[in-house]
Symmetry: C2
């Protein structure tokens, strides 16, 4: 990764002012720090910020943004740095605001089944904390051990449980945020139903840090299901596996996870973590990982059996039931680390396609055809129950899509395919820096104009995460 050199708009006066606001130790300009905050998990991309700030309060962020707004300095907010669309990359240099000191869960409200948290809390920490009280926050990205809940809000993250429990947007009740002009607002109220004016909360969820910097988050929680069961089903054909997916829902089942992984992806990750938990024989093309959860074990057992029987109609091989917590954990670990494994083995470009569930077989077929046609290797995996397929591409000599015309053409073809199937560009990763060039494939100019005008309403000087999602 070659760093992109910063554009040098930040003056020593700015740095001094920032030091006044957050304290000297939280204003960083050394190269190591700049390099650390210059990349996230997106491909091989590095853009150096000019200064990294680590504020602790909404008021500090407000003061910072007022200065940046006045002097038109680019500001990039950053959570855990696990993003896959470049949303946290400071591609214009300027100020990077690292949210890691907003790391406190403020209140777990057991009376109302809600949690109020700061955005810099690691998602898994939040999940474990509410779990101790018998409560459940389902959205569950693969990066949950290191991503921040604030980043999950920014990207409207999903994860395996989304298929039954919905995505981040379905849990966000209210947000405290600092607007680019420095004002601090709450977007809504801590209530389960709300028809009071435009839904600013839902507008901010998934807005990728372009509309404001979220400083407090109120999430709905639900009672923790008592039991879950997990099974692994091998298929001799990737398409048969994907056909089985929608059949399960049509039969009236709602699994709590319904993951698909192509055998190549599983081979790579099994090797990386030295696991033999998943059979990777030559006659297997893909596995489905299927979980059911609930409060009655008998019901779950019979559901699992019925699903396993249904799978036989799609030529599933011998189904493996994970017997204990350790086996389950092993399977989930493998699934969670697929992205990391395939990336490190050369599949550096990841797309986050999503189609109506029943179009998954057509999508997979089309993706494979594109690979043959344009001579790239591709592995597929993801949240099949949601029609959300992660497509990892390896093409010799093209490690990233940013600025490479050949790869841009290929991705354009991919997204046209997705659109023709009624789908769209991103299910849970966001558009960020690297997908923005394809927005006109799925949206009309009138849609994009509305989005740009909304951006201007929040951020008249276009300082906050400018050039993400779209260019103004």
């Amino acid at each position: 990764m070659q760093p992109v050199v910063a554009k040098g708009k930040i003056t020593t006066e700015h740095v001094a002012a920032f030091q006044q606001i957050v304290g000297k130790e939280y204003v960083l300009v050394d190269e190591e720090t700049l390099r650390h905050y210059g990349h996230d998990e997106t491909e091989h991309l590095l853009f150096l910020p000019e200064v990294v700030l680590k504020p602790r309060t909404a008021e500090e962020i407000s003061s910072i943004l007022k200065i940046c707004n006045q002097d038109a300095l680019p500001v990039t907010p950053r959570g855990g740095g696990t993003g896959l669309s470049g949303g946290a990359l400071p591609h214009l240099g300027g100020v990077l605001i690292a949210m890691e000191r907003f790391n406190t869960i403020l209140q777990i409200d057991e009376r109302n089944l809600q949690v109020t948290t700061e955005p810099g809390v690691i998602t898994e920490v939040l999940q474990d904390s509410v779990k101790e009280r018998g409560l459940f926050y389902p959205p569950d990205p693969s990066s949950r051990g290191s991503c921040f809940i604030g980043g999950n809000i920014a990207e409207n993250s999903g994860g395996p449980k989304a298929v039954k429990y919905g995505v981040v947007k379905d849990y966000v009740l209210n947000l405290e945020m600092v607007l680019p002009t420095g004002e601090i607002i709450w977007t809504g109220a801590n209530v389960l139903k709300n028809s009071t004016g435009y839904n600013l909360t839902q507008l901010v969820v998934g807005s990728e840090g372009t509309l404001g910097i979220v400083t407090k988050i109120v999430l709905k929680l639900i009672p923790l299901p008592k039991y879950d069961l997990l099974m692994l089903a091998p298929f001799a054909s990737l398409e048969k596996a994907s056909e089985a997916v929608s059949a399960i829902f049509r039969a009236g089942f709602t699994p709590s996870a319904m993951e698909l992984a192509e055998i190549n992806a599983l081979k790579i990750v099994s090797k990386m973590v030295d696991s033999h938990a998943v059979p990777v024989n030559d006659d297997i093309a893909a596995h489905l990982i299927i979980e059911v959860d609930g409060n009655n074990m008998d019901v779950l057992m019979s559901e699992m059996e019925a699903i396993a029987e249904l799978l036989q109609q799609f030529d599933a091989g011998e189904v493996f039931f994970a017997d204990d917590a350790q086996q389950k954990a092993e399977l989930w670990k493998l699934r969670r680390r697929v992205a990391e494994a395939v990336k490190s083995s050369g599949y550096t470009i990841e797309e986050d396609t999503v189609v109506p569930r029943a179009e998954l077989p057509a999508l997979i077929k089309g993706v494979k055809q594109l690979g043959v046609q344009h001579n790239f290797d591709v592995v597929c995996y993801g949240h099949a129950g949601d029609g959300n397929l992660h497509v990892r591409i390896h093409k010799e000599g093209i490690p990233n899509s940013h600025g490479n015309p050949e790869m841009q053409h290929i991705l354009g073809e991919l997204f046209k395919l997705v659109h023709s199937l009624g789908g769209t560009i991103s299910g849970e990763h966001g558009i960020g820096l690297i997908q923005k060039g394809y927005m006109d494939i799925v949206f009309r100019e009138a849609n994009l104009k509305l989005m740009r005008d909304i951006k201007k309403a929040f951020d008249p000087n276009n300082i906050l995460n400018a050039g993400k999602i779209f260019d103004l």
Copy 2:
């Protein structure tokens, strides 16, 4: 109801142009029609439009809006006319667009568990149609027998099932809409997860017909639960009943309905429909109506028993289990007709307060105190499981809140109370015309400015349902 005389901006040339677009028979200016479309279910209010149009296609609406946009004519879209916040009242005269000819369910997609419908379909018709295929669209406003699904989108409606299944916003995947400038867009894609740009779909849901006119709706469906059980629990104290509500959720149950009705409301509706299904003895202050649903009858039975047992801690009287479909239907009929009944008996002013669930007892106590203090009668009922309490007010000589300073003061006090409990003005009815004066109680000026700027982005000439939610 005295009609407010229209302002007379529509010319004979406009009428002729509209006739060209939609056909003569669908351009109506006779007084009977104007009076019919001059009111909805909101208090006693009547505002005459100047002309009523009944278009059939998005293209026709586009042509109409282009004319109105050019000549700055006020346009009010209208669904079933069952609104309770005056959202469909043509208070500025002008053009009323009646959506009743958009009455076709376009596709029930059993492969993807989705339905595509036009907005003028009656909600219950839609529900019944998908039910025949074993599918379930849960949002279920009391007016479902006459309201339009498009109006439900506009108000982000809820209803009894919201407590388990969520509100309208949780089911809307994609909307076709005509912008005030005449352009026709789709807001999103027909997918279950979407992180592709700002969520215009969620912004439009609950925007009360101010941002565009929705012409097609894609909704997520879920498998229809096989069974449900219903019980009625009497309480000697309204506060005990409301305390029981949050205790049920804290104990890990998620009923599919959790309704509260004060005894006065039940007395009135029982008399109106001549029913003895609900005991209205003098020692009863309120009833809870509790439903559970699912696919396993044994599980439901044991849940019901456990809930009934829990209720005893809150001094519930003898619990009545509805034994058959007829008894259930009778109870639901009573519940659904409460609003109509109490309105016709003089409680003409309805507020749609919502607080965090556990604050319900404090809200009820505060509402009763306000009644004593300001000398009005009040009955309460609503979706207790969501903290969504409908407050019906009767004050001698003040039949509606619009333009009455004394009632406006009272409502201001009510909403300050709601806000102090962490709640907000409307849970499911919207702000419309009659609550807009109270928005500054729950929002800062920065919030309201964002909403106004979003409105301007969609509707630069402020033609569409202008003066609803806020004034520009």
